[in-house]
Structures are given as structure tokens and as C-alpha cells.
């Protein structure tokens, strides 16, 4: 913990960053902290409790535009950062990234290459609970699945916390706000809520870091992160790990396999 504070402080003192995005102690769990100078870095914490995906702030223009940013990033945040690079949203030279090494030490990741290497070398944190839930849902009949999701999604009141918490949802005008045509019912109704989630998850295909922030953010506790988690798995099963360039839906292989097209 002290290590990160020292490093972040150093960056300020050397004049290498203008803002450091990290965590501080919060009411119950660590919460995001924005250190704007060396002193403020002394509140930083970084441990396994720090699960919120801080990469979400890297596309927030009012926070980071024109600034050189330091950030402490969880495994999933690093995945998001790597993807944001693919999508032309970040500049290598204005970003200093710190991850947690396997022995829980602060590890500076100085380039996109190093981030990619880290992700290659580090196994993703297991998601036993989610995998179990998905298994349960998979084992349901189609009608049961419909009942399950229409019940869950009937509760959604469209606060869009799932969208706000997601680092990949950085569109300035989200599909739900497009009204010519009105693709998605903008009001809360089971179907409109489903349409929103289907869109969100389709848009996440091959881009999602699987951090689960959407589900954590949901104030009503709808397990929408299972949808993205399932999508990530489907992508992996069908198309392997994402390619360097483009997106799973913007690229293809002539030999892609399906079994349902007549």
C-alpha cells in the first residue's frame, strides 16, 4: 500500500502525471480516489478489495482530457485498458499504469505491450459463483429461463448504473438515447429492459473485460453481469481469444462454424 503511495507521489514530484486514479477507503469498501497532487496520494489504497473497474474514468473527458494520468488497475481494469487502446481511446504516452503482481506487489506496466504480457501471464480471477449460476440457468428449460430473466428484468428501472460503471460504455450518445428510430423503449418495462440488456451485451461482445461491474453497480441486484459473462464465454468458445485488431463482430474467419443456418 505504501509502495503505491510512494510511487504515485514520485510521479507527481517528477512532474510525470497530473492526476492519479486509485482507491481510498470508503464507507464499506474501497472507493475511487482522484489524487491531484503528491499529498493526496497518501490516501491511496490498493488491495484485493479494490474491485471497481477504474478504467471507466479513463474516457471521462471532464476528468482526464489533456492530462497525464496514473492509475492503479485491477486485472479486469487492465483488460479494459488494453481494449480501450484497441479502440483508439487512450494514448500510451499519457498513461502510467500500476497493477498488482501475483505476489500482491505493485507492478508498473509501462506500455501496452507490458499490459498485454501481464494479461497473458496472469490467470483471470476465478468466478466460481457466476459459473455456478450460469450452469443453473443453462440447465433450465427455455421457458424457465424466460421466466427467470423476465422476472429479474421486470425490476429494472433504467438508472443505467450498469452502463455508467462500464469502462466500455463510453459512447457520447448511447443506443438507448437514439430515437430516430427508437430502437429501444426508453421507459422501464420488461421488454424495454430486455432490449436494453440485449443491446448492451451484444455491444460488449469481444470487448467486455468480464469485470462484472455492471452487476455490482445494479442497485436492484439484477444479475446482468451473468449475461456479459456468458457472452464472453460464447465468444471464446466460438471464436477463440480476441484478435489484436478489430472486434469479434467486425472480423470473421471463413471457416467460422455454426449449426443453425440452413
Amino acid at each position: 500500500m505504501d509502495e503505491l503511495r510512494t510511487k504515485a507521489k514520485e510521479l507527481f514530484e517528477k512532474g510525470e502525471i497530473d492526476i492519479f486514479i486509485g482507491y481510498e477507503e470508503g464507507t464499506r469498501n474501497p472507493r475511487p480516489l482522484f489524487a491531484n497532487n503528491a499529498d493526496e496520494t497518501q490516501k491511496l489504497v490498493f488491495n484485493d478489495m479494490c474491485t471497481g473497474n477504474l478504467a471507466v474514468y479513463l474516457t471521462r473527458k471532464d476528468l482526464v482530457k489533456g492530462k497525464r494520468v496514473g492509475i492503479s488497475a485491477s486485472y479486469y481494469a487492465l483488460k479494459s485498458i488494453a481494449q480501450l487502446f484497441v479502440e483508439n481511446q487512450l494514448k500510451e504516452e499519457s498513461l502510467k499504469v500500476f497493477g498488482l503482481s501475483s505476489d500482491r506487489k505493485i507492478q508498473a506496466l509501462n506500455s501496452l505491450e507490458e499490459i498485454k504480457q501481464y494479461l497473458k501471464d496472469t490467470p483471470p480471477p476465478p468466478k466460481l459463483k457466476d459459473d455456478e449460476l450460469i450452469k443453473q440457468i443453462d440447465e433450465m428449460s427455455s421457458a424457465e429461463r424466460w421466466a427467470f430473466w423476465s422476472d429479474e428484468l421486470s425490476k429494472c428501472f433504467k438508472c443505467y448504473a450498469c452502463r455508467a460503471a462500464c469502462p466500455m460504455c463510453y459512447c457520447t450518445k448511447c443506443i438507448v438515447e437514439v430515437n430516430r428510430p427508437q430502437w429501444i423503449q426508453p421507459w422501464a418495462s420488461t421488454l424495454g429492459n430486455m432490449e436494453w440488456q440485449i443491446n448492451r451485451v451484444m455491444h460488449m461482445a469481444g470487448r467486455c473485460s468480464d469485470c462484472g461491474s455492471c452487476g455490482t453497480a445494479c442497485p436492484i441486484g439484477i444479475p446482468i453481469h451473468l449475461l456479459t459473462h456468458k457472452m464472453s464465454e460464447t465468444v471464446k468458445i466460438n471464436f477463440g481469444d480476441s484478435s489484436e485488431k478489430g472486434n469479434v463482430l467486425s472480423t470473421f474467419k471463413p471457416e467460422d462454424k455454426e449449426s443453425f443456418i440452413l
Binding site: N88, Q89, C171, T172, I175, V178, W183, G246, T251
Partner: protein, 666 residues
């Protein structure tokens, strides 16, 4: 408010036999926004079209829906009619009451109901149509031809003769390609060089052709009509302006034992060389990998003997860029190196040679001056075996395709052999004889019947040497798989035609696609054989697939015709069915967030990065932009874009949505 005209066609009785056209027109008139709705026997007829035109003028229609046959048939007809009446042609849509309704359903209410729905769908779509204007793209009327074989030569000459500038780039020191290596050509047996060299000279002398030999395409940017090509001129070490081509240098060059590429290794050349005596340009280059000066730092004999001081060892590669309107790719092919077949002993036995090597032996300008001699001992082979399909049609070896030319040139080789070695005996092992082409079958028959070539249908399993003879073991399948063994003096492999070296790299430079064998892919296998997927880049010759000379020349003229057609206008006019990135008010400029994933989805490289700057000139945002010159209007980007920032004219999100809703909400 829309004023839509609906025009329901009976198509004689083609539609009205099963659809109640009057009712369709009547129901359509009740749709909000429909100003006029009529039915008529033949809408496409002159009176029918006049009816539409008059309605446009009298009622001030803002859109027209013609409910008739397939838009694939008459959409241009009706759009033209609308245009003539002053309505933007893209405000006219067709709905298909014939192929998709009256012809496929029985007469009845349901069929009429469906027809009404179909009309409703298109009315709702048309309400959201926007007037579109054809896209104009300026054209640089200069063509780049890559490859100086017969394909590139033919294409260059055709384009140049039509009055356009051509830049011809050839990677070797001379143009001529494979055709210049050939002895005689099938099916006429006229001498290849005799018909080719005049064309080569014509290229060199043509005022509209700029020839760059020993040069390669480095980079190609831009799009149809507006390419920018960067060409690397490899250092020749000989100043072409000073060199007179006298040949003293290569006669004095001490490094003499380099296998000649032109003679397929059957002859030798010097380090400073012209590939062959009839080379165009007939000026030497120094082969840096073999020249003693370049490898060891000593020699410079050529520099000493050159009467004009043309030798320049220190000259680096040069780069030139040219503005180009169209590209013709004519990079040809290579023959499969037959060490691919250890069982035939190529490389192990000197007298197992390729068809192309045989061409050099048979050529009057070749290493033996046209006499058929064994490379091993210079004796005349008395018994010769030709193995067709050496590599071709062999899925096990990864080349399932037919190389197309081997049957014919093998027949020619056997024939030439018989003509030159009267007491010789020749055998051809073949799988099938494919002699489709004018006078081709007759040619093969002549080889068999007149010249006594022995054709054996079967594959050769092995070739090995025994007592100075090449033992060819195969089977004759026509004799029920009877084993055949021939003691031959020479074996000629009709090795498969494969993509030329570096084809893949070149395709990637030009953003054109290629097949699994690295042959360049045509835009459509039937209807667009000389186009590629990238507009403005054309193909000809064996870079697309192995083919013979007449076919190559035909294709080369075809590609040239496409280029000339393109150059016949100063602007290119294209259908405006293209994608567009939206623009919104104020500082956001566009809802596009610049993720550029659409860039990878586009099959045509039509997405470019556009930097939006403020008044101070600072970049405030980088968004996608569609190059309308390249976009073909597939719309893959549109359904991929998450924020719906990109849309396609003519099939916009709003239009498609309205069309779908129209039928469901009715």
C-alpha cells in the same frame, strides 16, 4: 408532410390474376401520406410511365411507390421516369407484387392482403427516403500496370493506345516475363520470342508508357481514381542515361558462373548482366549478391571497361510517387519447384527437369541453341518421359486445382522433341487430357497421331537412376492398372503453376484479397473476372489463376478496357447508396466516438479517420468518415456501429425500421 403516389401494376394479368389490384390501390389510398393511388395494366409501358410523371407534376408528389415486379428488374426504369418528371430518382421505390406475391400465391384474400402489406411497407419506407445525388469522384487518368509479362505488356499497350498515360513496373531487369522464356507456343507452334519482342519494343518506345524495370510497388494509398503509388526503383548500379548497351561490361565481368534465371539454371550468366539478348531495356544491371565488388569490396572491372562511365556502385534505391487513377495487376505466376516431389528425384538427378527448363532447351536462344540435350552429359536423350500434373490436382500435396496449361505444353514439348529427335521415343503420363480451347484438342491429337507420342494414362510413382538411365515406374490405368516401367534418358515434370513470390505481400499492400493459394481474387467469379474487391484495381493474367497466353492476353485487354472505360470520364459517377457518418450540433460534432471498429468491418477500406479541429486548429475529436469513392454500400458497418453513428443512404435505420413496423402495426 409526405405526398406519396402509389402506382399498382397489373402486369397484364401476371399480377391481377391472383391479386385484386383495384383493392390494393384503394387500400393504399387510405394510408396516411398517400396523395394518389391508382392501378394500371402496364406501369412500365409508356402510358404507365406518363401516368406517374403527370401525377408527380400535378400532385406535387414527394415520393413514388411502384407496386409491380422485382426492383431488380425495373427500378432503374421507374427511377428514370421520376427523374424526368423532376422528382429525385431516389424518392422512388418499388415493391414486388409479382415475383414475391402474385406468382407464388394462389388467388385469394390472403394474397391481396399480403400485396397491401407490401405496399404499406414501402410507403412507410419511402416517406423517409431522402433525395440523393450520384457521387462524383475525380479521376487521375494515369494507370499503373504492375508486371511486365505478356499480360502487363498487352494491358499497357491497350491503355496507352487509347491515349492514356501508363506506368509499367517490372521487378526484373527486363520485361517479357515467362513468355520470353518459351520456345514455341501452342497450338500454332510459332516462336514465342518472335511474337513477343516486337510488343516489348513497342512498350519501350511508346510515348504514353513510362517503363520502370528493376522496380517494385512499395506502397499504394488512396482509392479509385485517386491512388498514390510509391515505387521503389532498385539500384541497377548502371546509369541508364549513360549506358549505351554495348555489352563490354558483361563480356569482361570475371564472375561468370552464376546460374541464369532466364535459362532456368541451365545456362550461366555474369554478375553484371542483361537477362537475355533481346531484353528490354537492353541495359545491364549488377546483381549485388554475386558481384565481387559488392561482396568482397574488390574488382570494379566493369567500371574500368565501360566506355561511357555508366557504372555507379554507390547509387541507392530510389523512390518515386505517382498519382494514379487505376491499377492493373499482372504479376503472373511461378512454377512449383519440383523438389516438392522427392519421389521424382528433381534436384537429385540432373536429367529430371521442369517444363520451363525444357522450354529453354528447345528454344533457339537457349543454352543449347534449341538442341535437346541432357543437362548431365550433353547427349541427346533417346527416350523421354513427360509427367503431367506434377503437383496439380493433388489435394494431398495441397494443390487441388488444375494448372490448366500443362496438358497443352506437355503435348507441345513431346511434339517439339519428336520434331528435333526423329528417332526418339516419348511418353506422357497423364491423369486426364484437358484440351479445351480452339484447336487445342486437334493439337494434342496431332502429337499422338502424327508425331507418335505415347500417352499413358496413369500416375508415376517413382523415378530413380539405374545404370545412367532414369527408371520411371508408373501404372497404366487404361490397361487395368498394369505397372509400367520405362528406362528414360530424361524426365520432364509439368510442375504446377503457383502464385508468384511475394503475391501475398503485394495483395496486402494493395488491399485486394487472394485465395488460399495466394492467387488474387476477382470480384466475382463470373461477372467481374478482371475486377478486384477494391474499386479501381484490376487483374489480368496468371496472377489470378494459371492460364495460357491467349486467355491472358484477352484478360489483359479486358482489364485495359475497364481502365479505359473508367478514364473515359473526368469524374466517376457512383450510386449514392453509401454509408455516412452522422453530424450533430455543436461541440460533439458527431455521435461517433472514434473506436474505429467499423474500419475492420469494412471490406473496402472505405473508413478513414477524420480529425475535427476547432477554430484554433487543434484536434478536438477524431471520428470515422466514409470515403464515398470506396464504399460499396453493404451496410455492415451500420449494423455494427454501437451508437448508430453511421447509417447507409437508401437503406437507413429509420427506413428499415419503418418498413418493418409498417407491416406489424397495420
Amino acid at each position: 408532410m409526405s405526398k406519396i403516389g402509389v402506382f399498382v401494376c397489373h402486369c397484364g394479368e401476371n399480377i391481377s390474376a391472383t391479386v385484386d389490384c383495384e383493392k390494393v390501390a384503394e387500400e393504399a389510398s387510405k394510408i396516411t401520406g398517400v396523395e394518389v393511388s391508382v392501378d394500371y395494366k402496364y406501369m412500365c409501358s409508356d402510358p404507365g410511365q406518363t401516368m406517374i410523371k403527370e401525377a408527380i407534376k400535378e400532385k406535387g408528389l414527394t415520393g413514388v411507390v411502384v407496386a409491380a415486379c422485382s426492383p431488380r428488374m425495373h427500378e432503374p426504369t421507374f427511377r428514370k421516369a421520376c427523374s424526368e418528371a423532376g422528382l429525385n430518382p431516389y424518392m422512388c421505390e418499388m415493391t414486388n407484387l409479382r415475383e414475391h406475391c402474385s406468382w407464388v400465391h394462389e388467388k385469394g384474400d390472403q394474397t391481396t392482403e399480403k400485396a397491401i402489406d407490401l405496399v404499406r411497407m414501402l410507403v412507410e419506407k419511402t416517406k423517409l427516403n431522402k433525395p440523393l445525388n450520384s457521387i462524383k469522384v475525380p479521376i487521375h487518368k494515369k494507370a499503373l500496370v504492375i508486371g511486365g509479362g505478356i499480360a502487363g505488356i498487352q494491358s499497357s499497350l491497350d491503355i496507352a493506345n487509347a491515349g492514356h498515360q501508363v506506368i509499367l513496373v517490372e521487378k526484373d531487369p527486363s520485361i517479357g516475363g515467362h513468355m520470353s522464356q518459351l520456345s514455341e507456343t501452342f497450338p500454332t507452334l510459332d516462336c514465342s520470342q518472335c511474337i513477343l519482342t516486337p510488343r516489348m519494343v513497342e512498350v519501350a518506345q511508346h510515348p504514353n508508357i513510362t517503363l520502370y524495370t528493376y522496380a517494385e510497388l512499395e506502397k499504394l494509398e488512396g482509392f479509385i481514381g485517386n491512388f498514390k503509388a510509391t515505387i521503389r526503383l532498385k539500384a541497377k548500379s548502371v546509369d541508364p542515361k549513360l549506358c549505351t548497351g554495348c555489352g563490354v561490361c558483361y563480356s569482361k565481368c570475371p564472375t561468370k558462373k552464376i546460374p541464369s534465371e532466364f535459362n532456368e539454371g541451365l545456362g550461366l550468366r555474369t554478375a553484371i548482366y542483361t537477362p537475355f539478348p533481346q531484353a528490354v531495356p537492353n541495359k545491364p544491371v549488377i546483381d549485388k549478391t554475386n558481384c565481387t565488388y559488392y561482396t568482397k569490396g574488390k574488382c570494379k572491372v566493369c567500371q574500368k571497361v565501360c566506355p561511357t562511365g555508366a557504372i555507379d556502385f554507390d547509387r541507392p534505391d530510389e523512390f518515386i510517387t505517382e498519382d494514379i487513377g487505376a491499377v492493373v495487376t499482372a504479376t503472373g505466376f511461378n512454377v512449383l519447384k519440383p523438389n516438392f516431389f522427392p519421389e521424382y528425384g528433381y534436384g537429385k538427378y540432373k536429367d529430371v527437369i521442369t517444363g520451363l527448363q525444357f522450354e529453354r532447351l528447345a528454344s533457339a536462344s537457349g543454352p543449347t541453341l534449341g538442341a535437346i540435350r541432357r543437362p548431365s552429359d550433353g547427349t541427346e536423350p533417346k527416350k523421354i518421359v513427360f509427367i503431367a500434373c506434377a503437383g496439380s490436382r493433388d489435394p494431398a500435396k495441397g494443390l487441388p486445382y488444375c494448372s490448366k496449361i500443362c496438358c497443352m505444353y506437355t503435348a507441345k514439348h513431346a511434339m517439339l522433341y519428336q520434331h528435333k529427335v526423329h528417332d526418339g521415343e516419348s511418353y506422357v503420363f497423364y491423369m486426364d487430357i484437358r484440351a479445351a480451347g480452339k484447336n487445342y484438342e486437334e493439337f494434342v491429337r496431332r502429337a499422338i497421331e502424327d508425331d507418335g507420342v505415347n500417352y499413358v494414362r496413369g500416375r508415376v510413382a517413382r523415378v530413380y537412376e539405374k545404370d545412367g538411365k532414369l527408371i520411371v515406374k508408373g501404372v497404366d490405368t487404361l490397361l487395368g492398372g498394369k505397372p509400367v516401367e520405362i528406362e528414360a534418358d530424361m524426365v520432364v515434370l509439368a510442375s504446377a503453376g503457383v502464385a508468384s513470390h511475394g503475391a501475398e505481400e503485394l495483395a496486402q499492400k494493395m488491399h485486394i484479397s487472394y485465395d488460399p493459394y495466394k492467387f488474387f481474387a476477382e470480384a466475382h467469379p463470373k461477372l467481374k473476372p478482371v475486377e478486384t474487391n477494391t474499386a479501381g484495381i484490376f487483374l489480368c493474367g496468371a496472377c489470378q489463376a494459371p492460364k495460357d497466353i491467349p486467355e491472358t492476353v484477352g484478360m489483359a485487354s479486358g482489364a485495359a478496357a475497364k481502365v479505359i472505360g473508367l478514364f473515359s470520364n473526368s469524374e466517376l459517377t457512383r450510386e449514392p447508396v453509401v454509408a455516412v457518418v452522422n453530424r450533430i450540433a455543436s461541440h460533439e460534432v458527431s455521435t461517433c466516438v472514434g473506436c474505429f471498429l467499423c474500419e475492420t468491418a469494412c471490406p473496402y477500406q472505405a473508413i478513414v479517420h477524420e480529425e475535427i479541429k476547432n477554430r484554433a486548429g487543434e484536434v478536438i475529436k477524431t471520428v470515422a468518415q466514409v470515403n464515398p469513392g470506396l464504399c460499396q454500400g453493404c451496410g455492415t458497418c451500420v449494423s455494427f456501429c454501437r451508437s448508430k453513428s453511421i447509417d447507409i443512404q437508401g437503406f437507413s435505420n429509420e427506413q428499415m425500421y419503418a418498413e418493418v413496423m409498417a407491416v406489424l402495426e397495420a
